[in-house]
Amino acid sequence: MKIKVKLFGSLTTVVPGYLPDKGLDVGLPAGSRAADLLALLGIPHPRLATLIADGRVLKPEDKLSSKSVINIFHVMYGG
């Protein structure tokens, strides 16, 4: 399946040539989970990464949907 991915903060430099306006179109096997996407993209400190789709924070074991835009951040805190 194809998934639209958007990267934020320092993660925008993880994928060479990443364009924030366009995001990424990523191909993954059907049934892939959040952790699979992080591994494919080579996100550093994956334990400290957060995926948000449809307003919800995904857990590593959550299945991905091709209908959703996946936003990826490093874990952040409010000041």
């Binding site: 934020f8 320092s10 919800r56 924070v57 936003n71 490093h74 952040m76 805190y77």
Partner: protein, 572 residues
Amino acid sequence: MKIIRVDMSKKSICVEDVPREYMGLGGRALTAAIINKEVPPKCDSLGPENKLIFAPGLLSGTNFVNTSRISVGTKSPLTGTIKESNGGGTIAAALGHLGITAVVVEGKPAPGEMFILGIDEKGEASLIKADDYKGMRTYKLMEKLIDSFGNKISVMCIGPAGEYLMKSASIQTSDVDDRPCRAAARGGVGAVMGAKGLKALVVDRRGKSADAIANPEAFKEAAKIFAQKLKENPFTGQLLGNFGTAGILAAINAMGAFPSYNATKGVLDGWENISGEALSKVMKERGGGPGHMGCAQCAIHCSNIFNDSKGKYVTSSLEYETIWALGGMTGIKDLDTIARLDFLCDDIGLDTMNTGVAIAVAMDAGYKKFGDGQAAIGMVEEIASGSEMGKILGDGPEAVGRHFKHHRIPAVKGQSVAAYDPRAMQGLGVTYATSTMGADHTAGNVFGLYMAKKLDPLKPEGQVAASRGSQIAMAAMDSIGLCILAAVALASPEAGAALVQAISAKIGRQLEGSAIAELGVRTIKMEKEFNQKAGITSKDDRLPEFYYKEALPPHNTVFAVKDEELDTTLAV
């Protein structure tokens, strides 16, 4: 270790050793202790019985990173509760270098009298008449103070809003570039300073009489470990330096918790124009930039400098909460306008959050249209003019709501909420409702727990415990003088141990690992005691009714934590 006491009624100054009962306390813990013991709880917050306390943190003035935080304590004219308004800049370090544990200002001068309190490099304090500075905005004031006192000074000062005794008045403080752009902004502390007839506190930065560190080698080692852990964390080591605190905007918006158009929506259309990423790009193009060091001892550099399209300085530092209050809440999606509003608030001496939300309530009530940047600038200038409408706006969202008879007022105990909607982040609602000082995200922010997948932000379960834990930790950080962004490093056990070790090394007594939490609990207990004596009850610990009745899109949820659960939050 000394306390400087200034009586503005008698124009007298005395210096005393720190009394035994206040020994070992700093920052917020110290201001809580002094207010609880010395201020009559039911006093007029703008009267002579109230006190205004400036207290650097326990570690301020040492070389431990990110410890130049100052606590400004008083009884708040905005909330009627005890207040600790926390600020950065350089003054906490300056006071620490002089071995000054606190400056306590009490009494009240005759109407029209105004003074500057100067503290020289030997720690000698004096009151200087400030007639020439009356009505002056803070940037001009800062220039004049440098002309008079030299360029090795740290300043805390008020602008016109403080002199007008407005409830949104801040106390501005100077950053490392001598700009009055940091603030102890919340709770109307600037109005208390105005009521005391104090235009500015000016402290020489060249002090060399800091309190001795009992075990310097152990302190140095602990400080090194903590700084290393801070650097290793992606948030404090990379994100904040590259994007500032605004780097969290996209995530909160993506979670549907970015209060927009006076808290009627949880996602802002056009948020991309004001995100941390957009801000960083614009600043770099214009020769300003993120990665600015705003506070002494800072290793994070979350501050920034925003220039206009011609490269001319507009403001520093444009923070997440400010972008939200003056942008998301008002529907203004233009960084240049938001930056201008931020500058005006700093210059006039106003809390950007209370002011932005006041403008948003006025817009929601139909006074002006959402998104009208020029109208917003006009409203802030109206505050500076001291007109009748300006006074209403300058007193914050509740005053505006009362004036327009408008029901949707996002405030608790008179103080505006922050940039996390409690219907989509229930734990922030618990903190807003139960904090000892009105709606205050810095009192106990649990956003990081949501990002770390440890708690579902939309469900009420677990939120009270999360808020309690965070409120205790933050009370301790505010007492130690550690920037709460740097507290992120405490996610590492080594950093936590290093912090305990540093405090132990400073005071010369080995503390247990539980000491930090105990400090937080002790602080909150003192604050609660004062509030109870002031007449604050659990009925005051509630969110405004609309949060329970008006569902917030896109999740269409309301605040769902039950009252009886809220009442257990700070049963510490």
